[in-house]
Symmetry: C2
Subunit: 439 residues, 2 copies
């Protein structure tokens, strides 16, 4: 029979145990903080009707949706993000208690051009609060982001915060047409990537008036850095309706963040933060790190009108999404990813074929004490078994020969330190747990 070449589609990945151990560690940490903050778990299907996803992600996003006809000829699509499915859920189950605080940790799919750090299948970790218009909700989402990054040992990060009402109000006051503000914001969103001149060119190309462009870009120049004065903006745009509303929201939000003990070095107002998606209506936020240069590692904001696309009853909502792959990339570059490459803690070796039962007895003891234990099945030379443990990254190895059996003890070898000692059988689980905690 012809062999089938083992390969996977471009932009998709296998996670072998060492990588999956790191991913699982990050997912578990994020999940734990989400739950500490009262978010409950939610899961939606990988496949949605295409009509649910279409028309939500802008022109560029639209092209990246994996769509196909199912066997019944219905148009279906792979989940593109977690926010639209959540909005669909809220509309579909009106009896869900509000406020509804939930999290989702799931893969999404985009038929993007695969490139460094960009994949066609990647995981998002979202937390959302639906049914509260309070700035406490937004503050809690941001506080959750802060605590997750702290829990993952991030030292340097900045949560940039802005407000769509403020941006819309400014743009309107400066003479931009309401219906063109979406595309204006999408250009502003590229400021960091393209620079002032770059986005100016693009604005001109899209037919915005030079005077309006100069006015809005001047604002970014005076407000660059973290010392922008919301009061000054309020005075400049005192005749606007939206600007004071946006500023009022931001002031409340910053006050709550302070009450929630979020380190003020870790967040800032950033007038140039725009976010690409159309559906934001209030506060928006995005987390970046100085090193490595990788774009944002979290992004989100308030989307008070999105659920109304699926329902006659609308609900205010706010939330944020973490990109799992970017978080992991940063952790690996900064050397703050966990160093272990396996979940297994102990390899129980096989001394000789007649000692199988003794190996199993030790393994049973350890497993019943919660210690993750692999038993070596094959009677290979001890050296080969030790090499196996070492290559896999298993930190402890146990050896039991006839002498140890007679004395009711075993040899416990610490593979990291390369030292070993005899340990009484009855003390074994305790000793290993103690040494594991010191690793």
């Amino acid at each position: 029979m012809n062999k089938i070449k083992p390969q996977i589609p471009k932009g998709f990945r296998d996670f072998l145990p060492p990588q999956k151990v790191t991913r699982q560690h990050v997912i578990d940490t994020i999940r734990n903080v989400f739950e500490l903050f009262g978010f409950e778990p939610l899961e939606t299907p990988a496949l949605e009707y295409a009509s649910i996803l279409e028309g939500k992600y802008g022109e560029e996003g639209e092209k990246l949706i994996y769509k196909f006809d199912d066997r019944g000829g219905r148009k279906v699509a792979l989940r593109y993000d977690l926010t639209i499915p959540l909005s669909r859920v809220i509309a579909m189950y009106p009896a869900l208690l509000k406020p509804f605080k939930c999290y989702q940790i799931s893969p999404v799919w985009r038929a993007d051009k695969p490139q460094k750090g960009r994949f066609r299948e990647f995981w998002q970790c979202d937390a959302d609060i639906v049914g509260s218009e309070s700035m406490f909700a937004d503050a809690e989402v941001i506080t959750t982001i802060y605590h997750i990054l702290k829990a993952l040992n991030f030292k340097q990060f900045k949560i940039k915060i802005n407000n769509r009402k403020l941006l819309n109000g400014i743009a309107q006051s400066l003479g931009f047409q309401v219906e063109k503000i979406s595309s204006l914001l999408r250009i502003i969103d590229k400021l960091e990537k393209k620079g002032i001149e770059g986005i100016k060119d693009e604005m001109l190309k899209q037919g915005f008036q030079k005077e309006n462009i100069d006015n809005i870009l001047e604002l970014f120049n005076i407000t660059s850095g973290n010392t922008v004065d919301l009061l000054d903006l309020k005075n400049r745009f005192s005749d606007s309706v939206l600007v004071p509303e946006g500023i009022q929201e931001l002031e409340e939000l910053f006050s709550h963040l302070s009450s929630m003990d979020v380190d003020s070095n870790c967040y800032c107002f950033d007038l140039s933060l725009a976010r690409g998606l159309d559906y934001y209506t209030g506060p928006i936020f995005e987390t970046t790190v100085d090193e490595p240069k990788i774009g944002s590692i979290s992004g989100g904001g308030r989307y008070d009108n999105l659920i109304g696309m699926f329902s006659d009853t609308d609900f205010p909502a706010t939330g944020s999404s973490f990109g799992l792959e970017r978080i992991i990339t940063v952790m690996e570059e900064l050397n703050i990813a966990p160093s272990h490459t396996t979940t297994t803690e102990v390899l129980m070796t096989l001394f000789s074929p007649d000692m199988h039962k003794d190996s199993l007895r030790v393994a049973s003891l350890l497993r019943s004490s919660g210690i993750k234990t692999e038993v070596y099945f094959k009677h290979n030379k001890l050296k080969k078994q030790l090499t196996y443990a070492s290559n896999k990254g298993i930190p402890f190895v146990i050896i039991e020969g006839p002498d140890e059996k007679k004395d009711n003890n075993v040899i416990l070898r610490n593979m990291i330190k390369g030292i070993q000692k005899a340990v009484a059988f009855d003390d074994l689980a305790f000793t290993i747990k103690q040494e594991l905690s010191e690793l």
Copy 2:
């Protein structure tokens, strides 16, 4: 704008928090036992090239694969199970250390006719050992199944065990043609569902000879129940090559299960167990429960020739798959599923608008002690806040008014018992943890 009707495709499901909490509990339990037994986590993509999956699942399975052309015109397919992707992984990364013990907990997709208990998206939990021909490997897979069901509080279950070498040997000795044994086994696999007469009819319909059929069905009659004698089978088929080999494997396997302290009431030899898939080569096993009637909750076996479909180097392999949905269905019917419907442990109420900061202070304290805490944002009547907690299933509520603030304590209300008491602020986390452990 027209509303988009919020709905999901048939056979797909949303898991709202109460359901997802149960799922997560089962997944965490399974994952923990997998890791205790030294299985390491593995993840493969949702999409594979269609050629990887085609021709592996038999005629019926073939029709159920979700296939489509990606935007580059390549034929891709949604993962149908976790065994073929694992086999592809083993072939693709020849440097992976053997034995390779891994687990996968992931959704799979089948375009099946949706019906009670059958879905188009469902989760499998697989554990596999690749690179060991030892019956220890099979015994360890079975022991892992046993410990998972114990950890999930299953009281009555039976792991049925048989061997494909034995079945093949018997069928050959009884005169069945080698190339027709696969379809014979697929019919035998339906014994429990269709009864002896039912499968006899089907065998006749498929053109098997009456004499052969009578001979093989007679065997099932004498061996029904758990008292079948492997020795008797060995004597009956003493001229076969395969039968003694299969029996030898089974004897070793049962001996290892006994060494591994698996309760002998929980497993048995069952000659009529055949398993539907073609690729098994040695021991096969399947777990059933008496109540509810739901088919098998786990199934697996040895597949020594499967990896060779993708590689010039073949590897012996064995493993088993749990069906998450069936496990949960059984747990719910038997009332052994966890009773909590939320992950959240405490609702911190808001006494009055000016006490927001105090609420946040309590929540911070609890969260930093690892207690999952939701803060109520809105100043609703206390009764409404208590109803919210009660409807969500949050077991504890904290109330702090000006009096409590003055005395530096709070009111802790146990929503399950319906009683409340004053607790000093400094003792709060400790008290809640203790009461949580008693729930």
